[in-house]
Protein backbone atom coordinates (compact mmCIF):
# COMPACT_ATOMS: atom_id res chain seq x y z
CA UNK A 1 0.00 0.00 0.00
CA UNK A 2 1.55 3.21 -1.11
CA UNK A 3 0.52 6.70 -0.13
CA UNK A 4 -1.83 7.39 -3.10
CA UNK A 5 -3.73 4.19 -2.37
CA UNK A 6 -4.09 5.03 1.30
CA UNK A 7 -5.25 8.55 0.43
CA UNK A 8 -7.73 7.17 -2.09
CA UNK A 9 -9.25 4.64 0.29
CA UNK A 10 -9.48 7.09 3.20
CA UNK A 11 -11.19 9.71 1.02
CA UNK A 12 -13.43 7.16 -0.70
CA UNK A 13 -14.52 5.79 2.68
CA UNK A 14 -15.21 9.32 3.94
CA UNK A 15 -17.25 10.10 0.82
CA UNK A 16 -19.34 6.95 1.09
CA UNK A 17 -19.86 7.47 4.84
CA UNK A 18 -20.96 11.04 4.12
CA UNK A 19 -23.38 9.94 1.42
CA UNK A 20 -24.78 7.27 3.74
CA UNK A 21 -25.19 9.80 6.56
CA UNK A 22 -27.07 12.03 4.13
CA UNK A 23 -29.61 9.24 3.72
CA UNK A 24 -30.02 8.17 7.34
CA UNK A 25 -29.93 11.61 8.99
CA UNK A 26 -33.35 12.90 9.97
CA UNK A 27 -32.41 16.56 10.40
CA UNK A 28 -31.76 18.38 7.09
CA UNK A 29 -28.83 20.28 8.66
CA UNK A 30 -27.08 16.96 9.38
CA UNK A 31 -27.62 15.92 5.78
CA UNK A 32 -26.12 19.22 4.62
CA UNK A 33 -23.01 18.77 6.77
CA UNK A 34 -22.64 15.19 5.51
CA UNK A 35 -22.79 16.52 1.95
CA UNK A 36 -20.00 18.99 2.81
CA UNK A 37 -17.92 16.02 3.96
CA UNK A 38 -18.55 14.26 0.63
CA UNK A 39 -17.56 17.36 -1.33
CA UNK A 40 -14.34 17.97 0.61
CA UNK A 41 -13.23 14.36 0.22
CA UNK A 42 -14.05 14.53 -3.50
CA UNK A 43 -11.85 17.64 -3.71
CA UNK A 44 -8.97 15.64 -2.22
CA UNK A 45 -9.62 12.93 -4.84
CA UNK A 46 -9.46 15.58 -7.58
CA UNK A 47 -6.07 16.64 -6.20
CA UNK A 48 -5.04 12.99 -6.31
CA UNK A 49 -6.12 12.87 -9.96
CA UNK A 50 -4.00 15.94 -10.66
CA UNK A 51 -6.85 18.36 -11.31
CA UNK A 52 -5.86 21.19 -8.98
CA UNK A 53 -8.08 23.88 -10.46
CA UNK A 54 -11.15 21.66 -10.27
CA UNK A 55 -10.30 20.80 -6.66
CA UNK A 56 -10.11 24.49 -5.76
CA UNK A 57 -13.36 25.23 -7.58
CA UNK A 58 -14.99 22.28 -5.82
CA UNK A 59 -14.03 23.67 -2.40
CA UNK A 60 -14.86 27.30 -3.18
CA UNK A 61 -18.05 26.94 -5.21
CA UNK A 62 -19.56 23.66 -4.00
CA UNK A 63 -18.49 23.29 -0.39
CA UNK A 64 -18.46 27.05 0.03
CA UNK A 65 -21.13 28.87 -1.92
CA UNK A 66 -23.73 26.22 -2.72
CA UNK A 67 -23.70 24.52 0.68
CA UNK A 68 -23.86 27.87 2.48
CA UNK A 69 -26.95 28.60 0.39
CA UNK A 70 -28.43 25.26 1.46
CA UNK A 71 -27.67 25.81 5.14
CA UNK A 72 -29.06 29.33 4.85
CA UNK A 73 -32.35 28.08 3.41
CA UNK A 74 -32.59 25.34 6.06
CA UNK A 75 -32.11 28.01 8.72
CA UNK A 76 -34.53 30.42 7.04
CA UNK A 77 -37.31 27.87 6.73
CA UNK A 78 -36.60 26.48 10.21
CA UNK A 79 -36.56 22.94 8.82
CA UNK A 80 -36.72 20.54 11.72
CA UNK A 81 -36.88 16.79 11.99
CA UNK A 82 -38.27 15.15 8.91
CA UNK A 83 -41.74 13.88 9.73
CA UNK A 84 -42.49 10.28 8.95
CA UNK A 85 -45.37 9.86 6.58
CA UNK A 86 -46.11 6.52 5.07
CA UNK A 87 -48.35 7.61 2.26
CA UNK A 88 -46.22 6.03 -0.41
CA UNK A 89 -45.30 2.38 -0.09
CA UNK A 90 -43.65 2.55 -3.47
CA UNK A 91 -40.62 4.40 -2.15
CA UNK A 92 -39.99 1.90 0.61
CA UNK A 93 -40.48 -1.34 -1.27
CA UNK A 94 -39.45 -0.43 -4.80
CA UNK A 95 -37.01 2.43 -4.35
CA UNK A 96 -34.52 0.82 -1.99
CA UNK A 97 -34.02 -2.47 -3.88
CA UNK A 98 -33.98 -0.61 -7.17
CA UNK A 99 -31.36 1.82 -5.89
CA UNK A 100 -29.12 -0.99 -4.65
CA UNK A 101 -29.63 -2.87 -7.91
CA UNK A 102 -28.65 0.20 -9.93
CA UNK A 103 -25.60 0.72 -7.72
CA UNK A 104 -24.45 -2.86 -8.18
CA UNK A 105 -25.20 -2.84 -11.91
CA UNK A 106 -23.19 0.34 -12.42
CA UNK A 107 -20.26 -0.93 -10.36
CA UNK A 108 -20.33 -4.28 -12.21
CA UNK A 109 -20.42 -2.51 -15.55
CA UNK A 110 -17.49 -0.32 -14.60
CA UNK A 111 -15.43 -3.32 -13.57
CA UNK A 112 -16.39 -5.88 -16.20
CA UNK A 113 -17.26 -4.07 -19.41
CA UNK A 114 -14.86 -3.71 -22.30
CA UNK A 115 -14.22 -0.07 -21.59
CA UNK A 116 -13.80 -0.74 -17.89
CA UNK A 117 -11.27 -3.50 -18.52
CA UNK A 118 -9.43 -1.34 -21.01
CA UNK A 119 -9.18 1.43 -18.48
CA UNK A 120 -8.15 -0.88 -15.68
CA UNK A 121 -5.43 -2.50 -17.76
CA UNK A 122 -4.08 0.08 -20.12
CA UNK A 123 -5.10 3.59 -19.33
CA UNK A 124 -3.55 3.84 -15.91
CA UNK A 125 -3.17 7.58 -16.10
CA UNK A 126 -0.07 9.62 -15.53
CA UNK A 127 1.36 11.28 -12.52
CA UNK A 128 1.69 14.67 -14.14
CA UNK A 129 -0.91 17.12 -12.99
CA UNK A 130 -2.85 19.24 -15.45
CA UNK A 131 -1.59 22.76 -15.34
CA UNK A 132 -4.15 25.45 -14.81
CA UNK A 133 -2.52 27.34 -17.67
CA UNK A 134 -3.45 24.62 -20.19
CA UNK A 135 -6.93 24.34 -18.75
CA UNK A 136 -7.56 28.07 -19.01
CA UNK A 137 -6.19 28.13 -22.56
CA UNK A 138 -8.70 25.42 -23.44
CA UNK A 139 -11.47 27.28 -21.63
CA UNK A 140 -10.84 30.63 -23.31
CA UNK A 141 -10.15 29.36 -26.80
CA UNK A 142 -11.98 26.18 -27.66
CA UNK A 143 -14.83 26.68 -25.18
CA UNK A 144 -15.06 30.46 -25.27
CA UNK A 145 -18.66 30.62 -26.45
CA UNK A 146 -20.06 28.18 -23.85
CA UNK A 147 -18.04 30.04 -21.21
CA UNK A 148 -19.65 33.34 -22.18
CA UNK A 149 -23.04 31.63 -22.33
CA UNK A 150 -22.67 30.51 -18.72
CA UNK A 151 -22.36 34.14 -17.64
CA UNK A 152 -25.78 34.81 -19.15
CA UNK A 153 -27.07 31.67 -17.47
CA UNK A 154 -25.80 32.87 -14.09
CA UNK A 155 -27.37 36.30 -14.68
CA UNK A 156 -30.74 34.73 -15.51
CA UNK A 157 -30.44 32.48 -12.45
CA UNK A 158 -29.83 35.50 -10.20
CA UNK A 159 -32.84 37.32 -11.67
CA UNK A 160 -34.99 34.21 -11.40
CA UNK A 161 -34.02 33.62 -7.78
CA UNK A 162 -34.76 37.25 -6.92
CA UNK A 163 -38.16 37.23 -8.65
CA UNK A 164 -39.16 33.90 -7.10
CA UNK A 165 -38.03 34.65 -3.56
CA UNK A 166 -39.26 38.20 -3.19
CA UNK A 167 -42.33 38.83 -1.09
CA UNK A 168 -45.55 39.54 -2.92
CA UNK A 169 -46.69 43.14 -2.65
Amino acid sequence: MTLPFIMFFVCAALAVIGAFTLIVAREPIHSALALVLVMVSLAVLYLLLGAEFIAAVQIIVYAGAIMVLFVFVIMLLNAGVEERTDYSKLAKYAGLPFGFFLLLALAYWMLESFIGKQIANGLGGTNASVSTRELSAQLFQKYLFPFEATSILILIAILGALVLAKKDE
Binding site: Y62, Y87, G95, G124
Partner: protein, 102 residues
Protein backbone atom coordinates in the same frame (compact mmCIF):
# COMPACT_ATOMS: atom_id res chain seq x y z
CA UNK B 1 5.30 4.91 -6.88
CA UNK B 2 2.17 3.23 -8.09
CA UNK B 3 -0.96 5.03 -9.19
CA UNK B 4 -4.52 4.30 -8.19
CA UNK B 5 -6.27 2.70 -11.21
CA UNK B 6 -8.92 4.80 -12.87
CA UNK B 7 -11.51 2.04 -12.45
CA UNK B 8 -11.41 2.54 -8.65
CA UNK B 9 -12.53 6.12 -9.15
CA UNK B 10 -15.30 4.97 -11.49
CA UNK B 11 -16.54 2.44 -8.95
CA UNK B 12 -16.58 5.13 -6.26
CA UNK B 13 -18.46 7.38 -8.67
CA UNK B 14 -21.02 4.64 -9.32
CA UNK B 15 -21.45 4.00 -5.59
CA UNK B 16 -21.98 7.69 -4.87
CA UNK B 17 -24.45 7.97 -7.75
CA UNK B 18 -26.38 4.95 -6.46
CA UNK B 19 -26.48 6.39 -2.95
CA UNK B 20 -27.70 9.66 -4.47
CA UNK B 21 -30.52 7.85 -6.24
CA UNK B 22 -31.45 6.03 -3.02
CA UNK B 23 -31.53 9.34 -1.14
CA UNK B 24 -33.61 10.87 -3.94
CA UNK B 25 -36.18 8.08 -3.71
CA UNK B 26 -36.21 7.54 0.05
CA UNK B 27 -36.08 11.05 1.50
CA UNK B 28 -39.22 13.07 2.17
CA UNK B 29 -37.79 16.52 2.79
CA UNK B 30 -37.63 18.64 -0.35
CA UNK B 31 -34.31 20.24 0.67
CA UNK B 32 -32.71 16.85 1.29
CA UNK B 33 -33.93 15.62 -2.10
CA UNK B 34 -32.28 18.66 -3.64
CA UNK B 35 -29.08 17.70 -1.84
CA UNK B 36 -29.36 14.20 -3.32
CA UNK B 37 -29.35 15.79 -6.78
CA UNK B 38 -26.17 17.67 -5.87
CA UNK B 39 -24.64 14.39 -4.69
CA UNK B 40 -25.41 12.76 -8.03
CA UNK B 41 -23.88 15.72 -9.88
CA UNK B 42 -20.75 15.32 -7.76
CA UNK B 43 -20.54 11.63 -8.61
CA UNK B 44 -20.77 12.42 -12.32
CA UNK B 45 -18.06 15.07 -11.91
CA UNK B 46 -15.75 12.48 -10.38
CA UNK B 47 -16.31 10.20 -13.38
CA UNK B 48 -15.60 13.11 -15.73
CA UNK B 49 -12.31 13.93 -14.00
CA UNK B 50 -11.31 10.25 -13.93
CA UNK B 51 -11.98 9.83 -17.65
CA UNK B 52 -10.16 13.08 -18.43
CA UNK B 53 -7.16 11.73 -16.53
CA UNK B 54 -7.41 8.33 -18.26
CA UNK B 55 -7.40 9.81 -21.75
CA UNK B 56 -5.10 12.72 -20.93
CA UNK B 57 -7.55 15.22 -22.32
CA UNK B 58 -8.57 18.49 -20.78
CA UNK B 59 -12.11 18.57 -22.18
CA UNK B 60 -13.44 16.52 -19.27
CA UNK B 61 -12.14 19.07 -16.79
CA UNK B 62 -13.76 21.91 -18.75
CA UNK B 63 -17.02 19.98 -18.64
CA UNK B 64 -16.71 19.59 -14.87
CA UNK B 65 -16.29 23.35 -14.67
CA UNK B 66 -19.50 23.86 -16.65
CA UNK B 67 -21.36 21.29 -14.55
CA UNK B 68 -20.36 23.16 -11.40
CA UNK B 69 -21.53 26.47 -12.89
CA UNK B 70 -24.87 24.97 -13.92
CA UNK B 71 -25.25 23.36 -10.49
CA UNK B 72 -24.71 26.74 -8.85
CA UNK B 73 -27.38 28.36 -11.04
CA UNK B 74 -29.71 25.41 -10.48
CA UNK B 75 -29.38 25.50 -6.71
CA UNK B 76 -29.99 29.26 -6.60
CA UNK B 77 -33.24 28.96 -8.59
CA UNK B 78 -34.27 25.71 -6.91
CA UNK B 79 -33.85 27.04 -3.39
CA UNK B 80 -35.84 30.14 -4.36
CA UNK B 81 -38.61 27.82 -5.58
CA UNK B 82 -38.42 25.89 -2.30
CA UNK B 83 -38.83 29.14 -0.34
CA UNK B 84 -41.87 30.04 -2.45
CA UNK B 85 -43.39 26.58 -1.95
CA UNK B 86 -42.88 26.88 1.79
CA UNK B 87 -44.53 30.29 1.86
CA UNK B 88 -47.55 28.93 0.03
CA UNK B 89 -47.94 25.52 1.66
CA UNK B 90 -46.16 25.85 5.04
CA UNK B 91 -44.50 22.46 4.62
CA UNK B 92 -41.31 20.98 3.25
CA UNK B 93 -42.69 17.46 3.06
CA UNK B 94 -43.08 16.29 -0.51
CA UNK B 95 -45.94 14.00 0.46
CA UNK B 96 -47.99 17.06 1.38
CA UNK B 97 -47.17 18.98 -1.80
CA UNK B 98 -49.53 16.92 -3.89
CA UNK B 99 -51.90 19.26 -5.74
CA UNK B 100 -50.69 17.98 -9.10
CA UNK B 101 -50.75 14.36 -8.01
CA UNK B 102 -53.20 12.10 -9.74
Amino acid sequence: MSIVPISYYLVLSAVLFGLGIIAFVVKRNIITIFMAIELMLNAVNLAFVAFARAHNQLDGLVFVFFVIVVAAAESAVGLAIIITVYQNRQTLNLERINLLKF
